[in-house]
Symmetry: C2
Subunit: 363 residues, 2 copies
Amino acid sequence: MKSKKENQKLHLIDTDIHERVLYEDLIMYLDNPWKKYITDCNWMQEKHMPYVQPAIAGVDRADARVPDGRPAGTDLEFMSKQLLEPCGHEIGILTGALDPSPSSMHGWYEMATALASAYNDWQIENWLEKDKRLYGSVHIAAGDPVAAVREIDRVGSHPKMIQVLLPIDDIMWGDPYYHPIYEAAQRHDLMIGMHHNEPPIYFGKWPRYFIEWHTLIPTAHMMQVTNMVFNGVFEKYPRLKLMMIEGGFTHVPHLMRKMDQQYKDLRHEVPWIKRMPSDIIKEHIRFTTQPLEELTKKEFLQLIDQMGTDELICFSTDYPHWDYDSPFEALPPNLDESLQRKLFSENARAFYPKLPQIRKEDA
Amino acid sequence: MKSKKENQKLHLIDTDIHERVLYEDLIMYLDNPWKKYITDCNWMQEKHMPYVQPAIAGVDRADARVPDGRPAGTDLEFMSKQLLEPCGHEIGILTGALDPSPSSMHGWYEMATALASAYNDWQIENWLEKDKRLYGSVHIAAGDPVAAVREIDRVGSHPKMIQVLLPIDDIMWGDPYYHPIYEAAQRHDLMIGMHHNEPPIYFGKWPRYFIEWHTLIPTAHMMQVTNMVFNGVFEKYPRLKLMMIEGGFTHVPHLMRKMDQQYKDLRHEVPWIKRMPSDIIKEHIRFTTQPLEELTKKEFLQLIDQMGTDELICFSTDYPHWDYDSPFEALPPNLDESLQRKLFSENARAFYPKLPQIRKEDA
């Protein structure tokens, strides 16, 4: 073998060397608007899609950053002062933000299970047992249903755990593979909470723009509702209920109609479904409000009329994200007192059996 | 090497031999309802998903089979007697049923292009030039846009070709890759017709039941509309229009609202879009009625009210498929004469510039 010195005489042509750029170094070479997506919009270099949140603090409200510099949503005291007290929350349900969701890790289920378990312990210790108003979500790694059931049995009987959280990405949750999770949830009077995740189930690949991704979130929710209902999950677990979180509800009248029409035509294929799908939805599924489109009172009531009931909608803020809905602004003004009462609290209270069933002021 | 005879002494154990079953041979081993899906419902063995159409003639109306035994939709004279004459069609637009669509062949674009081209010639010779009432769709293999443009230029100026057909499967048609197709379509005053295809774009994989697949067709349509609008296709080709075929329209009010809301929040990402998405939809996109859910007159008018215009909906039958909508039964009874006129003909007439622009009775 030749020495280093001798190698230098080879006039080496190396045809693959990775020099590396940081996006901050590209700023001076970029024109606007492209430049400002990096300087102002927290463009996420590590994401594998073009992807930008429109707010200066990325996915979060800029004013939700904890004063000591920690990210939004990390501090109970600050959240209480910014959200729970001024809005008059009697109850707040923690959805959690563990990224990626342990159920979205498509391999290494053991690590995912450990992360979920740690998250649940942390949530109980730092949030649920520190504030009477807060209730929580059991996180699991659903890819290993046996381990997931073990985790539900471990923390699901905690009095402040009220739902099991499943992410909406590329898994169809009605599949029998996941049914043991629903059996365990039902055993502990836990509901299922579903919240979309990345990558999106729709498209099967990234859409080209964030605005497409964000516009089409309801389609992912429609798929899960359709899949859960026609797979017979609610026939098999009659006390189980499903909360569809952050999909809004303006797609629901269409979905109920379409499912009923298809059931009339095609019910022979799913003979275990004994009722109209819209009746199954009315009994078993609820939809959170955020992100609510701007609706007039007339438009809002028209949607309720089309759903045939005012009991399917539950208020949510999505705090601390940039598209947060304030309880003072999200709903159309001048809704009847009794309807407001249902939307802001009683529909959710009726849905989660483990929540206090009497209003604080009535107690 | 040993001779055959000597091999026989090896007491050979062959560990892979494929004996083959035909589903008809399994019937005697099956119980109902599973048995009847094969005997009565035209279960398609060659499909790679569990997949059954509910009708005894599979995807077709049983009574649409040509008396000489050929499949439904193959004979102009029979179609005329069964559909065009009794329903009083002034105009019928042929969508075509070339399975798979040449644009859905994900390879061998040369063969796909040749098939599309042959189909167009066959359609012109056997349908468009034989019946004054019929107008046609240019089929292309969109995977090779250069060849697709060549085909559009070849047959697109035929006076009875009025749209270019694109299937909805796993391609997002707003992508710039396909824009030369829109330029060519606009050049020939052709609109784009989009019709769902298999496999579905939603899920990214087969759903577990046909009823899910069929219920969620509108979600695939929502994705394409969102994608076409936000990719700026209609800003780039201002005379281009898009007909969404066989997705119904009851999802459209939700979609318009959601797109507008998202545009308000996220328009910085797509600065080439200068108007509210709902305004772009109103100018450029129409939706065919079939398969129409059962709606009362009040419900139907509520949806039109929510869309803000009665000009987006065009009647369609989907003949000869089992879920065909009859013009005498599909729409709610007692709609105003002027609205019926729009839905049954004038909205489509205004949409396709190459259709006769004066009603036959008014001519």
